[in-house]
Symmetry: none
Subunit: 185 residues, 4 copies
DNA sequence: TATGAATGAGTTTTCATTCAT
DNA sequence: CATGAATGAAAACTCATTCAT
């Protein structure tokens, strides 16, 4: 008996994600994914029940990644101002360093059937816990999680999405961070 | 006879948009669009060179719509706070009243090949002109267009995307507006 | 607009039936059928919703054929013995002249999912009406339709199925007819 | 250990047969058979060279079963009338008690490639020997084996195939037996 | 202009079979 | 002997597009 090859599954996921960056969620056919992952199309069906299921499972897994990346950058000794800087800048940097995952998650989260299986709030719950702590300490303004998340994550992703257009005025990120630091108390 | 033609094209566009809301950008095949629009698949090729071209053209046309909707709600007698309220609330309302167009534009704008043909800034230029005017008058903070747009539009769309989850705490929109009034003035 | 080509559909049906004779119900793939019918595989899906549906529809259509063939050979002036001769011999001749249809119907009628959509009694109802008439006239023994049909059609089909083995003793058919004339009158 | 092996092979055969009853000869894939038999697909290839070979071997084995069942019900002290009753009724009962084997054999015997590897006459040779004996004794009419087999086995299988439709008139079996007893001398 | 038929190239998925353990 | 992983080939089916009318 051969053991399930975890490297193979990793390659499948990476192939899918990178393909979706390049060709959009439309262009990522099972055949293309398989050939990029250097496996047979049939092999994909050992790991996933269907293409739909694969997209969903990988989306659910990867949707957490940016948040985990952020969680690693938060230090307890930061003050509120530094926290906002770390989170917003971290988000922007993640989108540059992991363009494929970023684009994959953005595309999936707009696709109605996929989006409803993942809740942003659940993905970012660790970060939200941190924020709650800062709010309790009076370092951050109190507001609902959704409001906070919308302000912290959406604008920077918006800039990241339009990076090529925005890059002329590279200080947009700095300006955004500065403005959001107005959320401090 | 010209009326009939325009009606056909309208039906095609609406069929495409509503289908993409329901089945995602993947599920909208030419055949399904045609059948929903009650035309022959061949007819679609009278109006558009290819499916790709159709998606692009309609995206470019519809990407302006939310902004046009907003432009109509702006009144010169508003002060800065009222402007922000009108724009953010307008954005939220538009996404509810035109769920299909909203979802269509969101999906297209995440799809790499399509997104690069449309620039948010161009779509919203009328609104940005208004904002510039308010900035000149000192009623809104000065910051780059991208920063302003990211704060004004991205968070509310984020809430709109997660409407079903957010709805429990319906005051998130009010909170957002209030907060933005603080940040942007 | 191109008209639906009835010849094409005829070719599809004939291709399917002849292929099933040669390769069994297993070996008749859509691709093979299409290539034998000189159409594209996709064309088959214009005429039928699925392979399953195609098999079912054609089975339902062709199941009547042998009976129609028999109905044409019945003459009112025949007496009971002649009727039995005509029906049994006709059945045997049909299986020789239309080996493909015969084999196709036999195979389908053994496949549980298909068989339950077709009732032998309905297919042969015209013949059964004739038999009823003969029974009323006292020229054939009275017995239930199923019993009569089982004796009239099953044995001769059994011989037809085993034609190659049986052929050595070609008089089996004559013997059967003679015997049935004794049993059924 | 040998017990275990034979048990495995038995499970494989039973899985195949029961699957073919439910899904037709088409639907019985090696994977499904393996999973139903609770063995690995690879294991099947320890016992059989190929799927084709497996079908053939099991068909050849199982084709004898109904006849063996009948042979057990024949008693030397029966007269001709009782013999016919035992054989026809036995056939009907077998098809009810072993629906899966019955359906399996029926399906295989209609499939050209399989059918030519099995001869009904060989399967039923024990029964035919008995019949020869009765013919010699003058208790049964003399006729060729094929004719006799066609009359004794085909009609009752026909009724068995259509059991669900026939069941309304349950006396069809009795009627058939009675009629076939006309074959007595 | 408008159409439903038609299709080659593609899709997703399953197949019978073999491999590595 | 037995296995679950793996696969090339082929399955059923769909696609965007064009044809003939």
């Amino acid at each position: 008996m051969r053991l399930k090859d975890e490297d193979k599954q990793r390659r499948i996921k990476e192939a899918m994600v990178s393909l979706i960056l390049q060709e959009g969620i439309n262009g990522a056919s099972v055949a293309k994914i398989a050939s990029r992952a250097q496996v047979s199309p049939a092999t994909i069906y050992i790991y996933y029940d269907s293409k739909e299921a694969m997209l969903g499972e990988v989306f659910r897994e990867y949707a957490h990644r940016p948040y985990r990346y952020l969680a690693e950058r938060v230090r307890p000794e930061m003050n509120g101002s530094e926290l906002i800087d770390a989170l917003v800048r971290g988000c922007y940097e993640y989108s540059a360093a992991h363009e494929d995952v970023f684009s994959f998650v953005e595309q999936c989260s707009r696709c109605p059937s996929l989006a409803e299986t993942v809740c942003e709030k659940d993905c970012g719950c660790d970060i939200l816990d941190v924020i709650h702590e800062y709010q309790r300490r009076g370092e951050l303004r109190r507001m609902s999680d959704w409001t906070f998340a919308s302000l912290l994550f959406a604008p920077v992703r918006f800039l990241a999405m339009n990076r090529s257009s925005v890059c002329a005025e590279e200080n947009a990120l700095e300006e955004l961070i500065e403005t959001l630091q107005g959320l401090l108390r």
